[in-house]
């Protein structure tokens, strides 16, 4: 299973919460990430998140989407299920993993 953020959600990610504007991290988590995460988890598969192709990822977007998912479903479960791909900006992967593991 794979989520390509730039094509499946938006090229222009926004801030943290829905009330802060369009394409927020919360919106992404609730509408796309969480349902796919649960589906992948139930099937015992891995969910690949492709981060390439966007205009850039604000910290608050990433933290709310992936850190928020870890807060809800547990950091270990999220780390075990999600796989990140970023050919454009490889440092993003470490940054996201920090957001997830800091919820332990």
């Amino acid at each position: 299973m794979i989520i390509r953020i730039a094509t499946d959600f938006t090229e222009t990610p926004g801030a943290r919460y829905r009330n802060e504007g369009d394409f927020s991290g919360e919106e992404f988590r609730e509408s796309i990430l969480e349902p796919k995460f649960l589906e992948a988890k139930n099937k015992g598969e891995q969910l690949t998140i492709d981060l390439d192709g966007g205009y850039g990822y604000p910290t608050s977007f990433l933290e709310e989407a992936f850190g928020g998912l870890a807060r809800k479903h547990g950091a270990d479960s999220v780390s075990a299920t999600l796989v990140f791909v970023s050919r454009d900006e490889p440092s993003l992967v470490n940054e996201i993993q920090e957001y997830i593991t800091s919820q332990k």
Binding site: T12, G14, A15, G21, S24, Y55, P58, T59, D88
Partner: protein, 363 residues
Amino acid sequence: MLSKEVFVIKRLTAEYKLWLFQRNKKRLRLRTQKRIWTRQRRTWEIEKYKEAKQTYDYSEKRKQFEFHAPDVFSFALNPDETNAFFKNLISFITKRENFGRSLFIDISKIEKLTIDALMYLLAIVNNLNGKFRNKYSFSGNAPNKPAVKKMFSESGFYHFVRYQGTEPITRNKDNLQIASGEKSETQIAKKMSDFVCSKAGVTRLESNFIYIMMIELMSNTFKHAYASGQNILFPRWYSFAEYDGDHTISFTFMDTGEGIPATVRKNFAEKLDVLKIKGDSRYVTSALDGEFRTATGQSFRGKGLPRIRRFCKENKIQNLRIITNGADVSVHENSYSSGVINNPLCGTLYYWQIDISKLKGVR
């Protein structure tokens, strides 16, 4: 039938003719009298206002509503005088006894102008909150000096106000006119990123830090700048970008909120420091350094400013300067320098530049 007979009889009698004559005479007298009274009242009013006009000191009265911008109208170049000008204006607006008056903003004599001061002026003219909105009418003029006037016209200021006379809006392909919003406007951040790509000839990936920075700043405005709700202005931010035609793109971002020092999380000792002996700059530098300053009290938040600090360290942006409340902080690659502003700014101004030559290959 009976009434018709009565009417015919009455009309023909001598009594009726006498009555008619007397009635007309009376009406004429009243009309004449009324005309005389009207004429007398008009003469009296003219005399009265003539006298008032001679004794009324118009210049003194006008002075109360006229606000003259300083010669150097800029937070970046002349923060004290510019802050004093706005402080004076805000203090006038907040006084109940001034409600209903019209204010004239005179910027005709300014010699130097930067966009930050225009943004603040726009915020005051356009974004007064419900308590003060419709209580004042604003008018103003344009700078006289040709170079300043050109910059003023090209800034996009006229998109936000009504104007008289010929079309004053001009465009300059080397700048991105003033944009404004309330929330995180991804389309404006995208426009900013595309502007950098086109001027610097770099890819979207190489300029993505501008997009990220814009969203972080917009988001901070929405979250913190108006936290207490005591501000006289509606929540809004303003942004502007300008290419010098050579190798530098300058950015200005401003919100008219309460400012970073007023909204960050403070420890007990800092809360007691009401006299601000240690100054406001330390709040700004510690927020940039990622110390636990987020007003939300949630440990996973407050990461926006540290990320912007990282862009400075990575030399993606240069000459970052933050003016907020009494703090004036210049952010260098590995250090800070700070100054004190005597007339604190109610809001936060970010000013930074990017050097195009350093941009290629940056990730």
